[in-house]
């Protein structure tokens, strides 16, 4: 068996607030294998972005981080800033949510891609510009020779995200972290940008952590999925495990919230009742219990562990996996 590229163990992140400590990530553990696409899915506030920022060392100093994140044999949590700088942008590259704000407005797109290249490579300006032009071509920017000299605000939203992807690809990273890469885009552009991300991942052979709240994005791109809720992994498995052999009530709720165009109007969307938990005051026992249709007394007593669901590497944080699997089988039959 190959070694995981990124191995996160028992990662916790706590922020201090005026109302008390907020634990945004509670004991996250997961692996990313080389070349695989791991989707991290969850509602706002489930801790998915904080996890990726913790891995990159981008959280504010006030955040308290514990646990471990081994990347390619090196510990990232608490690592020396100089070592982190060598890894950032080179071995781990990030694609941000909103390309409008993630690109510096006073520099041309070319300047910024060239900067990304020269920060980690000892090459001439000219060679870097040629490489940048080539990258823009690869992400599907038409007429890259001319467009490379334009400013971000002269690009359309889709082109800006393509440019961000080109920047992330620049140094052939081993891991790409894409934080909601299509959320800020028009729906008509989302599919195209996903294609570009898929192509970028294939070209560089990088593994990817795809953070999203959109299960449609997950279905098209991911190999494995981590469903997060209240700062913890609630279900983890292959894409088929998650979609067809669902073993967690929360995942089931997420799936019920996806509109299906082909379904008859009688099949209404079934939203998850209630709202995400307040991280300041998590309910006792399972944090999903107040919103869960499967909940029983046992859910009140203690938070369940991640239990294995039948199938390789499929696990779910629930006491009632059997009932959930049954319910899912019934609804898809």
């Amino acid at each position: 068996m190959t070694e995981p590229l990124l191995s996160v163990r028992d990662l916790s992140v706590t922020f201090r607030s005026d109302d008390g400590d907020v634990t945004a990530v509670r004991g996250m553990s997961f692996d990313v294998m080389p070349g695989e696409v791991l989707a991290v899915v969850g509602e706002s506030g489930s801790g998915k972005s904080v996890t990726s920022l913790a891995i990159m060392g981008l959280l504010p100093r006030s955040a308290r981080i514990s646990g471990s994140a081994m990347f390619d044999g090196k510990e990232l949590i608490g690592a020396d800033i100089k070592d982190l700088r060598r890894i950032r942008g080179k071995d781990i590259a990030m694609i941000f949510q909103d390309p409008m704000t993630a690109l510096n407005p006073v520099f041309t797109v070319g300047n910024q891609i060239v900067e990304a290249i020269t920060l980690h490579n000892d090459i001439t300006e000219k060679a870097a510009w040629e490489r940048a032009t080539d990258l823009l071509f690869q992400v599907g920017i038409p007429d890259p020779k001319r467009r490379i000299r334009l400013y971000p605000h002269e690009y359309s939203g889709g082109m800006r995200q393509r440019a961000m992807i080109a920047m992330a690809m620049a140094n052939g990273p081993k891991l790409l972290i894409a934080d909601e890469p299509t959320t800020a885009l028009d729906v008509t552009i989302q599919a195209q940008v996903l294609q570009v991300i898929r192509k970028a991942q294939a070209l560089t052979g990088a593994a990817m952590m795809l953070i999203t709240h959109d299960l449609g994005v997950v279905a098209g791109l991911a190999d494995r999925v981590n469903v997060m809720y209240a700062g913890a992994v609630f279900e983890s498995g292959s894409i088929d495990d998650i979609f067809y052999r669902t073993g967690n009530p929360y995942t089931l709720g997420l799936l019920g919230s996806i509109p299906i165009l082909t379904s008859r109007s009688a099949d209404k969307l079934t939203p998850i009742p209630g709202s995400p938990p307040n991280l300041l005051r998590l309910p006792a026992g399972c944090p999903f219990r107040p919103r869960c249709v499967f909940a029983t007394d046992i859910c009140h007593d203690a938070e369940p562990d991640l239990f294995p669901v039948n199938g390789d590497g499929h696990s779910s944080r629930c006491y009632h996996i059997d009932k959930v699997v049954e319910a899912r089988a019934g609804s898809t039959a």
């Binding site: 990159m56 890894i87 942008g89 941000f96 690109l103 510096n104 980690h120 038409p142 889709g158 082109m159």
Partner: protein, 299 residues
């Protein structure tokens, strides 16, 4: 294949040509006709202030025997004053000196304010606490009062007046720049630069400072207008530039007694103070728009 798809769907500006940021700024600036006029007037004033006294056959302190209190004439377009000095050369020289002070004040306050504001905003923590306390201390001090007291000892010269004014005016710009740094530090492109492996110095100088140029230039422009007014006030009160060296303020002071008999002698230098302040304000407002690289008004 990908390129073709992109061309069809998400390009709305195939005709956009690469234009430099400076050119784009000028194109946006041009859309403000009042500001273009203001710029022309300012340039003309500066030429008049510097070239006028140089071309004029008289000097500002030259007493022309037998010609006191003349009205406007061909040889003395603004007339002469009560002891027979040519008023035009005095007003223009005064303008030159007031303008020099204003520009020096604007440059000095911008420099001091930018350095202190940038350090406070970028580093935060105790550095920010100390520098902000210092800034606020200077802000709450009643400036005019301090000037009145301090000017008695150190005032009088052109550059000493400029230094005094700059010494009291920098906190305004420091606050603005500190705010800008705090604002830009939190921007996603700064996060993106950190995520790309950039060092703090690179982030400060290459990513944040260029973004602050626009607002800083706007504030420096507005500072010129403000400095002209304060300098005139101070000189009018006799605590700025001391006669016989003229400044717009002390010329008004010189002739204020003649406000009933010959109001032009007071109104003319006053008009220049108003004109400069008005023009710098119009200029500043237009620059605020033109220097914003994301503003679309130029398109």
């Amino acid at each position: 294949m990908l390129a073709a798809a992109a061309g069809a769907a998400d390009t709305d500006a195939l005709d956009v040509e690469a234009r430099s940021l400076g050119r784009q700024t000028w194109e946006r600036f041009r859309k403000h006709p009042v500001a273009v006029v203001a710029l022309v007037v300012l340039v003309l004033l500066i030429i008049a202030f510097w070239a006028g006294p140089w071309i004029s056959p008289y000097t500002y302190d030259q007493v022309l025997a037998g010609l006191p209190n003349e009205g406007p004439s061909l040889s003395h377009p603004f007339g002469t004053d009560q002891i027979g000095r040519d008023l035009m050369v005095r007003v223009f020289t005064g303008g030159q000196i007031s303008m020099t002070i204003a520009i020096v004040v604007a440059l000095l306050t911008t420099f001091i304010g930018t350095v202190i504001g940038a350090i406070a905003g970028f580093f935060g923590g105790w550095v920010d606490t100390v520098l902000s306390a210092l800034t606020n201390l200077f802000l709450i001090v009643p400036g005019l009062l301090v000037l009145l007291v301090v000017a008695v000892k150190w005032g009088g010269g052109v550059y000493s007046t400029a230094l005094l004014l700059a010494f009291l005016a920098w906190p305004v710009i420091a606050r603005v720049v500190r705010g800008l740094f705090i604002q830009f530090k939190e921007q996603e492109f700064v996060q993106a630069a950190i995520a790309a492996g950039a060092r703090p110095a690179r982030i400060m100088f290459r990513h944040i400072i260029p973004n602050t140029f626009g607002p800083i230039i706007v504030n420096a422009t507005l500072a010129v207008g403000a400095a002209i007014v304060i300098e005139s006030t101070l000189s009018f009160l006799g605590l700025g530039v001391r006669p016989p060296t003229p400044s717009l303020g002390n010329i008004i002071q010189d002739y204020r007694g003649a406000i009933d008999s010959d109001p032009t002698k007071v109104l003319l230098p006053g008009l220049f103070v108003v004109l400069i302040t008005l023009c710098t304000n119009f200029l500043g407002d237009a620059l605020r728009d033109a220097l914003d690289p994301t503003s679309r008004r130029g398109h």
